[in-house]
């Protein structure tokens, strides 16, 4: 086959067999060429840049950008990388974080992931990221690379990734497309995540019509490190080498920059076909796993001066961020980059999102040792450049300079939008349409209602999903799926543990984004507290519709303020976060879904509290901590029974949440509570069902008068159901009194009678509850 390399518009390609580049390559778009041809039209609009943004790039450079530069600016100034629509609002997190809240923070927003000290010289890092759009297009690979990406983010902090979580939102469980998307997403997380050797310790799955065309796939990861060992993404030390290691760079995952290719090559039969590769990246879990182990060995041998993972925007992002955060300059030679495809242009190499790659800054004297570790793990590694103090990022390709830019202008000086926002006029009508007028069930209907709700798509057991994830690997998992929070031991040598929970009830956020987000915070905080851990830090993954819709922008702003104000009141910092916009189908935005993750710490993992009662020989009593109000707007009862969403969410009482967390921490330490479960969606009824089924044990209770329906199904926050050994009742009462914690005795655990007996209301066998709660997803998905 002869080489059919051709040129058009200054870019080149070769045939698939053209190993000999020199024969077929003609001039590429270089800095010199760009300076000499200022009038050349460029496809900036197709790359998503506005007129004024393109003009700004020209003004920064004093000339038109080269195609490689245009590709870099366009991906780095995209919404995903630059946070241009959210930046002005996210600043509020910084404004509301006090010095006291910052005390334990080693790294915060802006780093790959926030880092907090957790005691005994240990630190922890955690983050949640979205991979929504790719997961709709290609559920398996979208979800798989979402897990891979978040694990590399944690690794880039110098941390050992120890656990992963997933926050999933799908259309109605019985919708046709959900049968395509959900099994694919779960298989992707399972197939990729399980091979990485990081325990999956939980997450959440919700269904709602608004996610039918826009499923949400958020992936979280926790890492641990010695507090003294933190690495940050900066390239310091003039003369230090830039090492690219991991998989080869290919044409997969080239999103925006493919416009350059198609604009240039649309007529080229060969070039066009060559580029028809998936815009969703394809992950290789084995390469990822080896990359993780290799990187941990590099850390352990102290061979790394700075590090960044290659995620969105690939090398363009890693080089510009490393350079702008360090000594300000870097030279890179793209001819050294190992490629998967032939004849890749500089723009393609720079913006490729091929997975399983990292970029490290290495002292010259350590380069040989660095490469030796990579060789041991069979990980390709090459020196691609050097740190300079010129203040310029200079990138050459085929011996010519194709990029010469101030790196900060690429990485940090992207556009900032002050998009209009206002409360939608429809919000008043939504809030006025309360659940007060919905017919409520008679007392003799409550037993059936308990089972009906337990089987509903949002409340049912998610074992069909979580049983596809490895929760045991590495032997540090103390609590995992089916517990309120996941918990891992930090290391074999310590009893120190980390707990993590993430939550968002988007129905409540829709009714009132400010309060709804505070309720998400309160629930994640409470879930961590329920496990006996003390909440320490907060992250978020803010999933919203289009920022160009003022109503969505209002939701976003309210959510940020609600979360920041809530964190300030609780005294725990937001250490990082992620924003995902444009989650909508046509003009229909998703329910605002600000997922809030809370990280907690526990001194002794043996003191953790799980959801199972009746496991020992002691008799136990059940208590409800917290007070119940008649709060059913936005509840699961309103949704399942009446298909209703309206009114105002339950009141938030963060002081009550804090008090509750204090009681739980003390109770765990003193061993006063044998089991606990937080009350949230579905209220007390659902908590009782879950505890009885998980414990395979019954309970006999009396619900407080006057209204058993409200007692069982209200979704008032700041409540936890706990089991207390009868031998410790006095101490428990004293603990509650010391904290002024409202507490009411509900009844007893009945190991010899496997039924949930609610005096005068219902009497249901554990077997019936198990069938209702666990049968739903297997019936739908096989």
């Amino acid at each position: 086959m002869t080489s059919t390399g051709m040129t058009s518009g200054g870019m080149t390609t070769t045939s698939t067999t053209g190993n000999d580049l020199t024969g077929s390559e003609i001039a590429q778009d270089t800095v010199i060429l760009a300076a000499a041809s200022p009038e050349k039209p460029q496809p900036y609009a197709e790359l998503g840049l506005k007129d004024d943004e393109y003009a700004r790039i020209r003004s920064i450079l004093g000339r038109r950008p080269t195609e490689a530069e245009l590709a870099m600016y366009s991906v780095m100034w995209s919404e995903h990388c630059s946070y241009k629509s959210s930046k002005v609002h996210l600043a509020y997190f910084g404004e509301t974080t006090t010095d006291a809240m910052r005390e334990k923070m080693l790294a915060g927003i802006g780093e790959n992931a926030g880092v907090v000290e957790i005691g005994d010289g240990w630190a922890a890092t955690f983050k949640i990221e979205s991979h929504n759009h790719p997961s709709y297009v290609e559920p398996y690979q979208g979800a798989a690379t979402g897990v891979g990406g978040i694990v590399r983010d944690i690794l880039a902090m110098g941390a050992r990734p120890v656990a992963v979580t997933d926050q999933l939102r799908f259309g109605p469980a019985d919708a046709g497309d959900t049968a395509r998307v959900l099994p694919g997403v779960v298989a992707g997380i399972s197939g990729h995540g399980n091979a990485l050797g990081r325990a999956n310790i939980g997450g959440e799955t919700h269904f709602a019509a608004s996610y039918a065309g826009t499923p949400l796939v958020n992936a979280g990861c926790i890492g641990v490190l010695r507090a003294s060992d933190m690495y940050t993404a900066h390239a310091s030390g003039v003369g230090n080498k830039v090492v690219l290691y991991g998989s080869r760079t290919g044409l997969d995952g080239i999103g925006g920059a493919s416009v350059l290719a198609s604009a240039t090559f649309s007529d080229a039969a060969d070039g066009g076909a060559r580029r028809k590769l998936p815009s969703v990246q394809v992950g290789d879990p084995f390469a990822e796993k080896v990359l993780i182990e290799c990187t941990l060995e590099l850390f352990a041998a102290d061979l790394v001066a700075g590090i960044s993972d290659l995620g969105a925007a690939g090398l363009a992002c890693a080089t510009s961020e490393l350079a702008s955060a360090g000594d300000g300059g870097m030279i890179v030679d793209l001819d050294t980059v190992p490629l998967r495809a032939e004849g890749m242009s500089a723009a393609e190499i720079l913006t490729s999102e091929s997975q399983e790659r990292m970029c490290a800054i290495v002292e010259p004297a350590k380069v040989d040792a660095f490469l030796a570790v990579c060789a041991k793990w069979d990980v390709p590694a090459v020196v691609i450049g050097e740190v300079t103090d010129t203040g310029r990022l200079v990138i050459s390709h085929r011996g010519e300079v194709v990029v010469d830019v101030p790196p900060r202008t690429v990485a940090h000086d992207g556009p900032v939008y002050r998009r209009p926002f206002h409360r939608p006029d429809s919000q008043d009508a939504l809030q006025a349409n309360t659940s007060a007028n919905l017919p409520r069930p008679a007392d003799d209907e409550l037993g059936g209602l308990i089972l009906r709700l337990a089987a509903s798509e949002n409340l049912c057991a998610k074992g069909w999903i979580t049983d596809q994830y490895d929760r045991y690997v590495r032997g540090h998992t103390v609590l995992a799926q089916r517990s309120d929070a996941g918990m891992v031991r930090v290391d074999d040598e310590t009893s120190l543990g980390l707990a993590m929970a993430s939550d968002c009830n988007a129905r409540l956020t829709a009714l009132d984004p400010y309060r709804g987000t505070q309720l998400a915070l309160a629930e994640a905080y409470r879930n961590v507290a329920t496990s006996g851990a003390t909440p320490l830090a907060v992250t978020n993954c803010l999933n919203f519709g289009s920022p160009e819709d003022p109503g969505v922008m209002w939701q976003f702003r309210e959510a940020v303020h609600g979360l920041a104000d809530g964190c300030a009141e609780l005294g725990i910092p937001v250490t990082g976060g992620n924003v995902s916009f444009y989650n909508q189908t046509g003009s229909e935005a998703i329910l605002p879904t600000p997922v809030v993750g809370v990280l907690g710490v526990i001194d002794d993992v043996a003191r953790r509290i799980g959801p199972r009662f009746g496991q020992g020989r002691t008799s136990e009593m059940l208590f409800l901590l917290g007070e119940t109000r008649d709060e059913l707007d936005g509840s699961e009862w309103a949704r399942v029974v009446h298909g209703h969403l309206g009114g105002v969410p339950p009141l938030v009482d963060l002081a009550a949440e804090q008090r509750l967390a204090g009681v739980m921490a003390q109770a765990a330490k003193a061993g006063l509570v044998t089991a606990a479960h937080d009350l949230s969606e579905g209220g007390l009824a659902q908590a009782l069902v879950e505890m009885c089924v998980l414990s395979d044990c019954g309970a006999a209770i009396t619900v407080p008068p006057p209204n058993p329906f409200v007692a069982l199904f209200s979704e008032t926050p700041a409540r936890i159901l706990v089991a207390v050994p009868t031998s410790r009742l006095g101490e428990f009462a004293q603990l509650c009194e010391e904290h002024s914690q409202p507490s009411s005795a509900l009844g007893t655990v009945t190991p010899t009678r496997p039924r949930l007996e609610i005096s005068g209301v219902a009497d249901i066998s554990v077997a019936e509850m198990r069938e209702a709660w666990t049968g739903t997803l297997p019936a739908l998905f096989g």
Partner: protein, 231 residues
């Protein structure tokens, strides 16, 4: 006498640290063995851990079975060295020809991570002797299981031979989680020294991090055998 238990790490191994921890808990000296190193460093037994060796890209365990360290393990095993393959390690032992049969895709086609009850079918082996006294051969043990390719298959002839020679070590008790023929969860060589099973005893050595401590028996059994032989 110090008993040294080697645990192989292939690229893609996952549960090597868990196996090393199990060795340590029963009082052995844990020794890491690297896939590319043919030297077994004088260990008294070898555990091939769970994971996805080399990504399991050809067939589960197929490439690992050809690794330099495995050539040494095969030779040593034929000479009587106790060898235990867990999950991916079981697949490797079958691929290496040390145990008959193969592990194929689960009947349900999905990865499953569950706590599984097993019956111990043979307690006269270096890996299961402890279950004789502790469990009276009757009570099932509870061990985590996590795999997508754990359905044990073999020819009828091989299955009959395994049963006739008392080489079935463990069977699934209650529900068969993956469609394994004759509910087989683990098998061994005729002398009981080479053993493979899909469930993970190394994840059941501490009630804090596993469903209980039923897995410890396998590692304690080995210690009994090795210490007894030396004394």
């Amino acid at each position: 006498m110090t008993v040294r238990i080697g645990v192989i790490t292939f690229p893609g191994s996952l549960d090597d640290v868990d196996a090393l921890r199990a060795a340590k808990i029963v009082g052995a000296e844990p020794v890491s063995l690297w896939h590319a190193d043919a030297d077994l460093h004088g260990v008294d037994a070898v555990i091939i851990p769970g994971g996805f060796s080399y990504g399991d890209y050809l067939r589960a365990g197929a490439i690992a079975a050809q690794a330099p360290v495995m050539r040494s393990v095969v030779d040593a095993a034929r000479g009587g060295l106790p060898v235990l393959g867990i999950c991916n390690g079981f697949q490797v032992l079958c691929e290496a020809g040390l145990l008959p049969g193969a592990l194929v895709r689960n009947a349900g086609l999905r990865f499953r991570c569950i706590d599984q009850q097993l019956t111990v079918e043979r307690t006269s082996s270096v890996w299961t002797s402890r279950y004789r006294s502790e469990y009276d051969d009757v009570r099932p043990i509870l061990i985590p299981l996590k795999h997508a390719e754990g359905r044990y298959v073999a020819t009828e002839h091989d299955l009959d031979a395994l049963e006739a020679e008392d080489r079935v070590l463990f069977r699934y008790h209650g529900d068969n989680p993956n469609g394994s023929l004759r509910d087989i969860a683990g098998i061994c060589s005729a002398d009981g020294r080479i053993a493979g099973l899909m469930p993970h005893p190394e994840h059941a050595i501490d009630a804090l991090t596993g469903p209980g401590t039923d897995g410890l028996g396998m590692f304690s059994s080995l210690m009994d055998s090795l210490v007894g032989a030396a004394s």
